[in-house]
Symmetry: C2
Amino acid sequence: MIATAFAPGSIGNVGPGFDVLGLAVEGIGDRVTVELTDGPSRVAGVTGRDAGLVPADPSRNCAAIAAIAWLRGHGDERNVVVTLDKGLPLAGGLGGSAASSVAGAYAAFLAAGAPAAPPLELITAALEGETAVAGRHLDNIAASVLGGLALSRSIDPIDAVAIPVSAPWWVAVVTPEVRIETRAARAILPATWPQAMWIQQMANTTALCHAFECGDAELLGRALDDRYAEPLRSPLIPHFLEVKRAAVLNGAFGCSISGSGPTVFAIVPDQATGSRCARAMQNAFGEIRSTSHVGAIAKMGVRREHETLKRPDTRHPGPDTQT
Amino acid sequence: MIATAFAPGSIGNVGPGFDVLGLAVEGIGDRVTVELTDGPSRVAGVTGRDAGLVPADPSRNCAAIAAIAWLRGHGDERNVVVTLDKGLPLAGGLGGSAASSVAGAYAAFLAAGAPAAPPLELITAALEGETAVAGRHLDNIAASVLGGLALSRSIDPIDAVAIPVSAPWWVAVVTPEVRIETRAARAILPATWPQAMWIQQMANTTALCHAFECGDAELLGRALDDRYAEPLRSPLIPHFLEVKRAAVLNGAFGCSISGSGPTVFAIVPDQATGSRCARAMQNAFGEIRSTSHVGAIAKMGVRREHETLKRPDTRHPGPDTQT
């Protein structure tokens, strides 16, 4: 009747894979506790990062929306008391709303004691939460559910594919204290695009997916090249080019904007390189305060809370940011 | 001083992967013999399919152009006497000009006795031949050089990736007697495309590449969905929808137009299914005469002639077409 789930945060788009690719990152994510109730749904409490900005109205809280969607989808008319512990920023580009939604749906499944939670059912429920607060996008949802690299082939009908990642790569993410709303960051993108441009983007995304699958770091470096969103969104992120250069100079295979930003991510060969890149990227942000996290590519997606792995190198949540 | 090479034909685009994916097919292709000469370059003879349409002027013959490009790229000022034996139609959508170009470049390499022919050098030389007769596209060239499924990530600089195909799938190709020029088939395509459309195309192409790589036939069936060229080019191919339906009803995972057409291809689980599909597809073409070929996905690309495998199930070249 009560259960807690953890869903990892994720890098949206992963460079060129706009709305198509998501990459789950170990050691950073949102925890959601769901208690079933015959009374009205409510949000009992929110702790962690950006807690004050999370809606307390359950009809506008993505974790509650997703939890209820999971229950209704299984013929369960009970309501939910939801508690959130956020490790992810609210509009940071790390799939915070997706992780809360996924953890909410999974905690509802656990609390209801259902026999199994097929990924498609979790994604369907979580998508209701994500849609209510950030728009109808599958890339972060799929990564938070499936873990690793997730490919969203189609949203109608939902078709998400877990791409096996053979390489033991890590990820460095740095979130500057700059607020970018997902909807605004989408509005600056062109509605149509020339043939040569989207063909190049398609080629890069296909190559990127293959590079993750076969562990080809050099190909990853060449393919992690976003011609669509990065040129238009990077001006919203002060010092972006210096940050990107700092990552590559310190051993990253590639670096781009996570989701709609402002988080910047780098794919790195190992933890030590990740830590070095994160420091250099934070330094390159200059006067802009930032937080960083270094984590492996998540081997699994959403999980029961006690299965949560120890956070290896996080500076979240809390005031210990690096400037 | 004289050598013969065989380059397999290939399916261009492979459904959604416009200008990005190419798939080499075993047992059908072009043979080119190159003899080095200190005299002027010339085309000594052309046999096989569409032989009468192949330019005899070496400055307009893609095999000769590619052979000379290979020699010049290696500081060799000699010229070439070229003989072609074409198994591929000239403008059929099976990468005929690419296969002739690749075989020309490789035969020049063999004739010159150079120690090695790196794929990048072959592609560079062959691209000169292809560009002269069909436009500057890499998808068929890369497949004819590398074999199997080839991903053209970039043409400037050239970056082509061989995608390992784990499944033992076969291909059925049916070429109706309808002529479509590559340039004309490109001109009918829109110069720009809405965001939602190219994102869907990008998702399908990424999923398709992964489906080949991991042998997921169901995913291949869902991802082999071209929203860009097929809707506009299929009206140029009489009975296309019936042909496509016949392929799928007879066990094909998916079916689309090869390159700019008019060849229609189907991906099938095995040779027997391929033969059944090819017959059904030819029947569906009704009054339109057609030729068909059933071959495995080519394990290797261009090769010295004596390495050429026996053609397992070809009805090319010659008059034994099925109507």
